[in-house]
Symmetry: C2
Subunit: 206 residues, 2 copies
Amino acid sequence: MLIPERDDRQVADALDYMRRFFAETVAMDDAEWQLGLPYFNVFQAPPKTCLQPQGEDVEAHYFVVKGLVRFYYNTEDGREVNKAFYADNHIVGNLSSIILSEPSRYCIETLEHCLLVRLPLKVWQQRLNTDSAWNRLFDRSCQLMLVRNERREAELMISSAGERFRRFVKNFPDYLDRIPQYHIASYLGITPVALSRCKADWLREK
Amino acid sequence: MLIPERDDRQVADALDYMRRFFAETVAMDDAEWQLGLPYFNVFQAPPKTCLQPQGEDVEAHYFVVKGLVRFYYNTEDGREVNKAFYADNHIVGNLSSIILSEPSRYCIETLEHCLLVRLPLKVWQQRLNTDSAWNRLFDRSCQLMLVRNERREAELMISSAGERFRRFVKNFPDYLDRIPQYHIASYLGITPVALSRCKADWLREK
DNA sequence: TGCGGCTCTTAACCTAGGTTAATGATCAGC
DNA sequence: GCTGATCATTAACCTAGGTTAAGAGCCGCA
């Protein structure tokens, strides 16, 4: 999965994006960044690559430099429910499974050809757990996820399918083209058929 | 709101419950506990007391020693949605508003006559923010809330009203008697009428 | 070039749960 | 005791969204 012909430039760029992201979210300085740097792997993955299988231990966070990833879980009756999408310049972590230190309840899968950085959890826990910036990063991620979850909950509780769809295309204008509709439907908590109806209404009144 | 005739015994007991709760959740030792102790207020509140009005700055966390409290938000069309209930021996905090440092999106209201401990946020932020146990407590609360939120989200996405009701009475057997049904309905994301139907089914097959 | 898979759309039908409204039960205040 | 609120129940009806199924566009591959 590593880039076949080593493209140093791309790797450097990827890490630099990630560094800036961390610097912004938890005010990580350069020394702190250097602490983690040796342990990250930059790699590419084609669409439909599974980064985190369900039921297995969480081994890493991922930073999406470029591309698009979905975060989902399985229901007892065998359906998949998309909980979130993460695109360029976002970090994906299986936070609740880490918090509970239990095998992963969630899966992560690429939807596009992706450029990713892998942050092994073991390193984090063994080498970076004494460093405040890296701890802050985990805590801050939990905080932001909490906020995100609450927004989503309220949206699911309050809004109709049509409203949810409209807000979705407004908030993520490009996702409608980048993500198969059945995945969007699952994210919105409706069936693909219903999504298609919402979309038709939305097109009509545009 | 302070206990009219000072009941030192009750106050001591309340604080002791809280201390044990903190010791369990974040391994807080006695020295650390003593740091916060002088700043807490133990008080009683009758039912329907508002502890956190919507849109105002968050001023405190609350520890529910005894009684029952609901945590809710208002929709644009004037309905209230219950997001959680907190009973004996739980802490209630307006976490997401604190995280975003924005005026409270949520309200807190007592449902029963309560014995509460108020933990002023200012103290937390000004005097306890250097102490690791008190920081851990906030971070840990966020983590547990995150997990709780994800469970709730999955439940809302996957289960029918009837299933949600059944799980509710199973998980919180006493709440059906302690909480008015229209509040439970709101928590479950259904109308009181629908709740009544679920309950009738449930009684029938018991 | 044609074929087999996917994905999306549309239509017809069905159902869980919303809405409205009437009826009781419980309780507080007088 | 009666009266008016507040809450729960039940029934009748309605609708958003689920289900099923058929067709159309598209893409990869032989």
